[in-house]
């Protein structure tokens, strides 16, 4: 199907089903129940799942395949957001040109930074990308204020030119919102079934569609001769050089592609909520995408998407739990024990969710270098072993990168 092997095609189908049904899957608990706070099926969060999924998929093309650890990828995300907002301001509120420009500018920016940074490898490469990103951040924050809006960020204004839109639409009283040929991104329809409420948001489905396309493209890249060369770069660059292959353009292409993915994610962020700020370029944002990719499973196809989902879920849901909620959960225990357990769990939730994230991340790096995907495979293997032992098939599987 679509030029994919069977295994990859079913993976794509699975992701397709998950994203399309996300409003249901992420909202398993009825409204008003004690568990409703674990529902993640609201537009804002669902959009973030897929957008950061795109970011991580792209990052994985660079880090997962070539092993080059960039600590400055957020810069491309930021550039994408700024470009998109400018397109909204100048040309049209249609998201297509905005996203197109976001991808193009971030690609060019990545070309420049990659061209310089890729002259070095290892930690030197990481530091160079970090330095470039921090420079972009500092400049966006200060000198480039006319372009970036500085500390307040770049926002839409009523008197923006919007050349294309001004022809058709009469000047209204409100700032228009991003749309896809008239379909407003922020619009949702709701569907209530009993006490369940499911929200279908235009923006989410648009972003999810783009995410599926990006995911499909990344599968193609992974399975292509280009992807093979990138994996060879990670494995043994010296051998590649002495085999008559020029590694530089390969790594640069991977860098630019992953920069464009980041720009796409940034553009989509702006399309969902048309503003852009410098903090999107700060190095912690670059660190976050590293966390996502590692957590999910670096070098695997689905891993980055899982990692992005997991971190965004924790950020939004775990952080909402407070000690009162904990007390209601453990109310069935004797008082002393209840208090004790709540005291123990408390640092890990609410504002402390970063602590959970940090610990989880360390655990993954220490025990599960292959991330959640590896964990899933191990569990699956445990179950399989119960049925039958076939090592031959496993050895044959070992060579294609895991899904």
């Amino acid at each position: 199907m679509l030029g994919l092997q069977k295994k990859d095609a079913s993976l794509l189908l699975l992701v397709f089903a998950l994203t399309m049904l996300a409003p249901f899957i992420l909202n398993p608990f009825p409204e008003g129940s004690g568990w409703a706070q674990f529902n993640a099926g609201y537009p804002d969060l669902m959009q973030r799942f897929v957008i950061f999924g795109i970011f991580a998929i792209g990052f994985n093309i660079l880090f997962g395949l070539t092993g080059y650890l960039s600590f400055g990828h957020a810069a491309f995300l930021g550039v994408g957001s700024y470009s998109a907002v400018w397109m909204f301001k100048l040309l049209s509120m249609n998201v297509i040109p905005a996203i197109a420009l976001a991808v193009i500018t971030s690609g060019l920016f990545a070309l420049l930074i990659g061209f310089i940074s890729l002259r070095r490898s290892g930690i030197y490469f990481s530091i160079l990308t970090l330095a470039f990103a921090q420079m972009s951040f500092a400049l966006a924050y200060s000198v480039l204020t006319p372009i970036t809006g500085g500390e307040t960020g770049l926002q839409l204004a009523l008197d923006d030119p919007r050349i294309l839109d001004s022809i058709s639409a009469a000047a209204g009283g409100n700032i228009p919102v991003p749309s896809l040929f008239g379909i407003e991104m922020r619009d949702s329809s709701e569907w209530s079934v009993g006490s369940w409420v499911f929200t279908f948001n235009n923006g989410y489905y648009f972003a999810a569609f783009i995410m599926l396309c990006s995911f499909y493209l990344s599968i193609r890249i992974f399975r292509s001769p280009f992807g093979l060369m990138l994996r060879a770069v990670k494995s043994n660059q010296q051998r590649l050089n002495y085999t008559g292959l020029n590694t530089r353009p390969y790594t640069l292409a991977a860098f630019v592609i992953s920069g464009m993915y980041a720009g796409l994610a940034g553009g989509l962020m702006a399309a969902m909520d048309p503003l852009a700020g410098a903090e999107r370029m700060f190095w912690t944002a670059s660190g976050e995408v590293v966390l996502m990719t590692i957590l999910g499973g670096v070098g695997t196809l689905i891993g980055p998407v899982l990692g992005a989902g997991m971190i965004k879920y924790m950020e939004n849901i775990l952080s909402k739990i407070n000690s009162d909620i904990l007390h209601t959960w453990f109310a069935f225990l004797p008082d002393g024990l209840e208090d004790f357990i709540v005291t123990i769990i408390y640092p890990f939730i609410g504002k402390g969710w970063h602590l959970t994230l940090g610990l989880l991340f360390m655990m993954v790096v220490i025990f599960l270098p292959g991330g959640l995907v590896e964990g899933g495979q191990k569990i699956a293997k445990l179950f399989k072993r119960g049925k039958k032992d076939d090592d031959g098939a496993k050895a044959a599987d070992a060579t294609t990168p895991a899904e």
């Binding site: 001769p225 093979l228 994996r231 990670k234 050089n241 002495y242 020029n246 050895a395």
Partner: protein, 251 residues
């Protein structure tokens, strides 16, 4: 005028003269062995041929073109392939994928952005790689991780990878080092067979005299960075200077 012509090459590492006025001429379609005691500069000489090191002075011509100042991948594309002293393969990739990479390099050149079609759809490459593995007697291991191969197999794979590019000059740095006798003999047979089947020039560095005398048509003896003699194997065997510098202890 041979295919490879090295003239007056010098290379210093700080105070150490690793190569001093090396002249070497390798005739086309011959097997030329370079021997010499440890630290004689054999690997250094090879490094100067493939672009890993740049000689301080001198010239290195391959088929009438200078290789100096070219990057390793450019030199490889000119037709020189190198097998390393410790096997250099893509450990994370499968044996088949290892074999496919040089085939791509041969077909597409140093860079080709082929990011959409799948590797499996490149039937010519897959066939070529499979055929090469067949020739190397490794077809049954095609799906193994290359890192899991035995040392002998890694070396075989590396030689196969180099051969699949159909180089005009194959450089081998101690291809049998650390191999068991049986493996060594297999490698000798393999190289002999390669030599019979195609037009190829082989330059081989080797400590194992059995290998050297089974294969080489000419031998250069290197000692302390300078060539002592260059001659046929028969003459080298009896050469007093060589006995003194090198064979003295092993003969």
């Amino acid at each position: 005028m041979g295919i490879l012509d090295v003239k007056n090459v010098n290379k210093r590492f700080g105070g150490l003269q690793a190569l001093g006025d090396v002249n070497l001429n390798v005739a086309e379609n011959s097997v030329h062995a370079i021997i010499g005691p440890n630290g004689a500069g054999k690997s250094t000489l090879l490094n100067c041929l493939v672009g890993k090191l740049i000689p301080d002075t001198g010239s290195v011509m391959f088929d009438g073109q200078s290789v100096l100042g070219r990057k390793p991948f450019e030199i490889n594309q000119m037709g020189i392939s190198r097998v390393f002293q410790t096997p250099e393969i893509f450990g994370d990739l499968s044996v088949l994928e290892n074999m496919m990479i040089p085939c791509f390099a041969k077909r597409d050149g140093a860079f080709e952005l082929n990011a959409i079609s799948s590797v499996g759809s490149q039937t010519d490459i897959v066939e070529r790689a499979e055929q090469m593995l067949e020739e190397m007697n490794m077809a049954d291991k095609r799906h193994m991780h290359a890192a899991a191969l035995s040392r002998g197999d890694k070396r075989r794979l590396e030689i196969g990878m180099c051969l699949s590019q159909e180089p005009r000059l194959l450089l081998l740095d101690e291809p049998t080092a650390g191999m068991a006798r049986a493996d060594t003999n297999n490698t000798i047979d393999l190289l002999k067979q390669i030599k019979e089947e195609r037009d190829i020039t082989i330059a081989i560095i080797e400590h194992d005299m059995h290998v050297v005398f089974s294969l080489a048509e000419r031998i250069t003896v290197l000692a302390q960075g300078t060539p002592l003699v260059e001659d046929t194997p028969e003459n080298i065997k009896g050469h007093p200077k060589v006995r003194e510098a090198y064979l003295g202890e092993s003969a």
